[in-house]
């Protein structure tokens, strides 16, 4: 019941967060536009006055893409290499956003202000960054525990059929995905506790939350599964719409652009929903344990 009520609370908190959602969405858009403008220039200069890129209007065309990359390849390669630091920057940006989102979901009835959002984003930045690093290490350890024995045993055994190589891997990967639902939700639970307690003890908080999660394992995991449903529905719906439309006119380009932006907005909405639901669940279980 706690899982369901938290799930519903999360939805109502996210619904009330339209101003915050818009702020986050616009920040994504601005960053993406800053990177897309040089990309547009790159494509235009690689294509020059050629008619060949027109064939890309009808979808994927291996020959056209090969010709474009061959002619603008070095520039594209350089662009992609310069992209790598951006991924790190995106991670830092998301760490910052987490604090701001929690400031809102902890009190969704209040008035949203950018300064309040920024204040909490700054305040919790280093703690959440530490948390992100710890969880990256946890993911690495989980990966090693799950995959290393498999790699060592399949690597050392000769004469395995491809089925004998693939099936264990799929089984392990399936188990890994099931475990990931728990691990990602645990990270959100830890963030909730750090926010609620205004604590700086990240490492200790992880263990406390782990204990809390195990004590209520089934309800905690059920919340994770509930929070997975709508993202999957969203992706499936987007794929269906996208694959049914041929984007080869200005009108369809614009239409699909709008659909894509709606999807991004909804992804942000789902994230706020997830954090709000986890925060609410944390409050319920910590109240229960007092």
């Amino acid at each position: 019941m706690k899982a369901i009520s938290s799930f519903l609370y999360g939805f109502s908190a996210a619904i009330k967060s339209l101003r915050m959602l818009l702020l986050i969405y616009l920040s994504y858009l601005v960053i993406a536009i800053l990177l897309a403008i040089p990309f547009y220039g790159l494509i235009r200069s690689a294509a020059g006055n050629s008619q060949l890129p027109d064939s890309l209007m009808n979808g994927f065309d291996a020959t056209a893409i090969r010709e474009l990359l061959d002619n603008g390849g070095k520039a594209f390669g350089f662009y992609l290499k310069a992209f790598m630091p951006w991924i790190f920057a995106f991670l830092l940006f998301q760490v910052y956003l987490s604090g701001g989102i929690f400031s809102w979901v902890s009190n969704p009835r209040g008035k949203f202000t950018i300064s309040f959002f920024h204040q909490h984003g700054r305040k919790y930045f280093w703690r959440y960054l530490k948390l992100a690093v710890y969880f990256l290490i946890i993911h690495l350890i989980i990966g090693l525990i799950l995959y290393l024995p498999y790699l060592l045993t399949t690597g050392s055994r000769e004469g395995l059929t491809d089925q004998q190589i693939v099936c264990p891997f799929l089984f392990i990967m399936g188990g890994h995905l099931i475990l990931l639902v728990f691990v990602f939700l645990l990270a959100d639970l830890v963030k909730s506790r750090l926010f609620e307690q205004d604590s700086r003890k990240v490492f200790k908080t992880i263990f406390k939350c782990l204990k809390m999660a195990f004590r209520r394992f089934f309800s905690f995991y059920f919340l994770g599964l509930l929070l997975l449903v709508f993202p999957l529905v969203l992706f499936a719906g987007f794929y269906l719409i996208r694959s049914s439309i041929l984007v080869n006119t200005a009108g369809t380009i614009l239409f699909i652009f709008v659909i894509q932006q709606v999807m991004i907005f909804l992804r942000i909405f789902l994230r706020v929903w997830r954090l709000a639901a986890t925060y609410s669940y944390y409050l319920k279980i910590s109240a229960g344990s007092k």
Binding site: Y28, L29, I31, A32, I33, A36, F39, Y40, I43, R44, A46, A47, N49, S50, Q51, L52, P53, L56, M57, G59, F60, A62, T63, R66, E67, L68, D70, N71, I87, F90, L91, F93, Q94, V95, L97, S98, Y128, A132, F135, H139, E158, G159, L160, T161, D162, Q163, I165, V166, C167, V247, T249, A250, I253, I256, F257, Q260, I264, R267, I268, R271
Partner: protein, 677 residues
């Protein structure tokens, strides 16, 4: 139609007869059957050894008196580091049992002469070793790399063989199979037994192919070389433990079991090679296509892909029957090796081919189909023609790749035949072209070359994809109907006769001249000289289109002893459009150019393509808005298609579409980092 109908009737007769009368599996020999092999062999799976005896009949096809017999002993390529094969690959095995060899224990003539002591290993390629290293960082080969190889043996005869006479020799041999890494050998309890017996070379009389004088054409085994042998009659008895499931390139005539062993008797007619396989794990499925019995030997974990293999081979049978000739044999075995025996995959032995797939491979990745179609195609471009794969590998691999491209695109779609996902799809013809162009230095060496002369990383693109692209270009120039005529004539003239590249080009010239007169010149030698025998590259480009108003009258004119200046007058409504074409590389092919004007008018021009720069100039009331070289996309050899067209005012839509996609990708990437934040 006729030969096929006759074949079917003959088959009906053959199958209706009691077994004793149906030893023959084809109604009549397809080839001269210069060689006939009767082999009795026994496999010992524990020692991975095949001991056997072969009775070989050989008829001297020449006017020469032949003083020796020369045999290929391919398994000696796996014997030690001194073999040409191992020395060129610089590879080593991990244990003694991983190496392989073949020993000739005894050779006797039918008259009882013992020739065993006369055996001597020879190295026919010692003088043919490449001396010039083409790549700057290539390491020189070891000095004796060609001098110690044991893959060719000469048996000098006591009594030479006179013209048109025959000889029968009985050879006892022992073959130790290597650990399977390259076509033949064992892996666990899987055996693929190829190139396993002493195989006679091909005696080329003077005038055959490039032979100036009669002699044996037996090359040493190199890493990138394949094979060359006569069409033969094979009668092979194989004995091995009864729990093994066996497949071969022959038709099973009888099976006997006793004392835990089985003896299988096979017969194969007019094929160039006899290979067989044994494993305890095979699942066998049979199907029929017209006169052809198809046997698929598949791994249990790939059973759900069986239909993919059978469908692919049926497509190939149908297509090649329609466009070339009917498949002349009445049996075909397709082998799916296990993953630990993949070294045997992707190979052809005329009526036995090896495919290859992977567990749970999606249908949209058409690897098993492509490999099956390609290896089956070798039944034609090797099996029937039997060109020399050592000296002219392109004639087999490149020509076959061209037909594989055609069959795959016809059967599975020209944009989806290799990969067929909605978001990523590639056809076989375009895949060939892309693979060649993206290969290492695509035009470094000529396609027409001995197999061992290709520098590192150039063999595949030069021998497979480039000639396929070349033939695809030729087809688009002369039409598919003419191309079919060429191959039908090629087969008619050269089936079972070991043609050369020169013979193929000769047929092309004959048919093209018959069909088109001198539209392509006196012959197509200019095409093959550049792209088969040479290293020419093609790249035509439209450098620019300039459109300016037309002016007249302007300038200084002599009037009454002085110069009078007259202002230039713009000719209203008239424009001068100049299209500047360039030939950026050394390859020359006549091209078409489509020019479009702003009133919708379209003109097609022809350019011989010889000049380095060539202008098209128009003074008209309309302006040129775009031009395109080779609008029909015939010249697949053109290395850069991006510069083949020019639009005065290009549309921004493609760039906008892909930028919008990129923007969406970036937004998703930003958001995905939230999982870890």
């Amino acid at each position: 139609m006729k030969p096929c109908f006759f074949l079917i009737c003959a088959m009906a007769y053959v199958y209706a007869c009691p077994p004793a009368l149906s030893q023959q599996i084809l109604p009549a020999p397809l080839s001269p059957r210069i060689t006939q092999y009767k082999i009795k062999a026994e496999l010992d799976p524990v020692t991975q050894t095949v001991k056997g005896e072969v009775v070989l009949d050989w008829r001297n096809p020449s006017r020469d008196t032949v003083k020796d017999l020369q045999f290929h002993l391919y398994l000696n390529a796996f014997k030690n580091a001194r073999s040409t094969f191992k020395a060129q690959r610089r590879s080593a095995e991990s244990g003694q049992n991983d190496y392989g060899f073949i020993d000739i224990d005894e050779v006797r003539t039918s008259g009882g002469e013992d020739l065993t002591s006369r055996l001597k290993f020879i190295q026919p390629d010692e003088d043919l070793a490449p001396t010039k290293l083409i790549l700057p960082d290539e390491k020189p080969l070891a000095p004796d790399i060609y001098g110690k190889d044991q893959t060719v043996v000469s048996v000098p005869l006591v009594t030479p063989i006179l013209p048109d006479s025959s000889i029968t020799v009985k050879i006892r041999f022992t073959s130790k199979l290597p650990k399977l890494s390259f076509r033949t050998g064992y892996s666990k309890d899987f055996f693929f037994v190829a190139q396993w017996f002493p195989k006679l070379g091909v005696y080329e009389p003077a005038g055959m192919r490039y032979a100036q004088k009669g002699g044996w054409n037996t090359h040493q085994f190199h890493p990138s070389s394949e094979f060359y042998s006569n069409h033969s009659l094979y009668q092979v008895d194989i004995t091995l433990p009864e729990e093994y499931v066996v497949g071969s390139g022959g038709k099973l005539m009888s099976k006997q079991e006793s004392d835990g062993k089985q003896t299988l008797s096979y017969r194969a007619e007019d094929i160039v090679d006899f290979a067989w396989t044994a494993s305890k794990d095979y699942k066998v499925m049979e199907d029929q296509w017209k006169h052809v019995n198809i046997k698929l030997m598949i791994q249990p974990e790939h059973l759900n892909q069986a239909e993919r293999h059978i469908k692919a081979v049926k497509y190939a049978l149908e297509y090649l029957e329609t466009h070339v000739v009917p498949y002349p044999w009445n049996h075909l075995t397709i082998v799916d090796p296990p993953s630990y025996g993949q070294g045997a995959g992707g190979m052809e032995y005329t009526t036995l081919i090896t495919a290859g797939t992977f567990y749970m491979l999606p249908e949209q990745i058409r690897m098993p189909e492509m490999v099956t179609v390609h290896e089956f195609g070798h039944a034609y471009f090797m099996g029937i023609l039997a060109n020399n794969e050592f000296e002219e590998p392109w004639l087999d691999e490149g020509v076959n790749s061209y037909w594989e491209n055609r069959i795959m695109d016809w059967a599975y779609g020209d944009k989806t035949s290799m990969f067929g996902f909605p978001f990523f799809h590639v056809g076989d013809v375009e895949f060939s072209r892309i693979t060649w162009l993206e290969g290492y230095r695509p035009n470094l060496v000529a396609t027409f070359n001995n197999s061992w002369n290709f520098p590192r990383n150039t063999y595949g693109p030069s021998v497979y994809q480039k000639p396929a692209t070349m033939l695809n270009t030729l087809e688009r120039m002369i039409g598919q109907e003419t191309m079919d005529k060429i191959f039908k004539k090629y087969y008619d003239r050269w089936a079972f006769r070991h043609p050369s590249s020169r013979d193929f080009v000769h047929v092309v010239n004959e048919v093209v001249t018959e069909s088109f007169g001198n539209r392509f010149g006196d012959n197509l030698n200019w095409f093959f000289d550049q792209f088969l025998y040479g290293t020419a590259s093609v790249d035509y480009a439209i450098r620019t289109i300039r459109v300016n108003p037309v002016f007249e009258k302007g300038g200084l004119y002599d009037q009454s002893g002085s110069k009078t200046y007259i202002e230039p007058e713009k000719v209203e409504g008239m424009y001068r459009s100049v299209i500047q074409l360039e030939r950026l590389q050394d390859g020359i092919i006549p091209v078409e150019i489509t020019v479009r004007f702003d009133n919708g008018e379209q003109i097609t021009e022809h350019w011989e393509g010889k000049d380095k720069v060539y202008d098209l100039v128009y003074e008209k009331p309309t302006r040129v808005v775009s031009a395109c070289i080779d609008p029909a996309g015939k010249i697949l050899l053109d290395a850069n298609l991006l510069n083949n067209s020019y639009v005065v005012h290009p549309s921004a839509k493609p760039a906008l579409k892909w930028t919008a996609r990129f923007l969406f990708f970036v937004e998703n990437l930003i958001h995905s980092m939230s999982l870890f934040a």
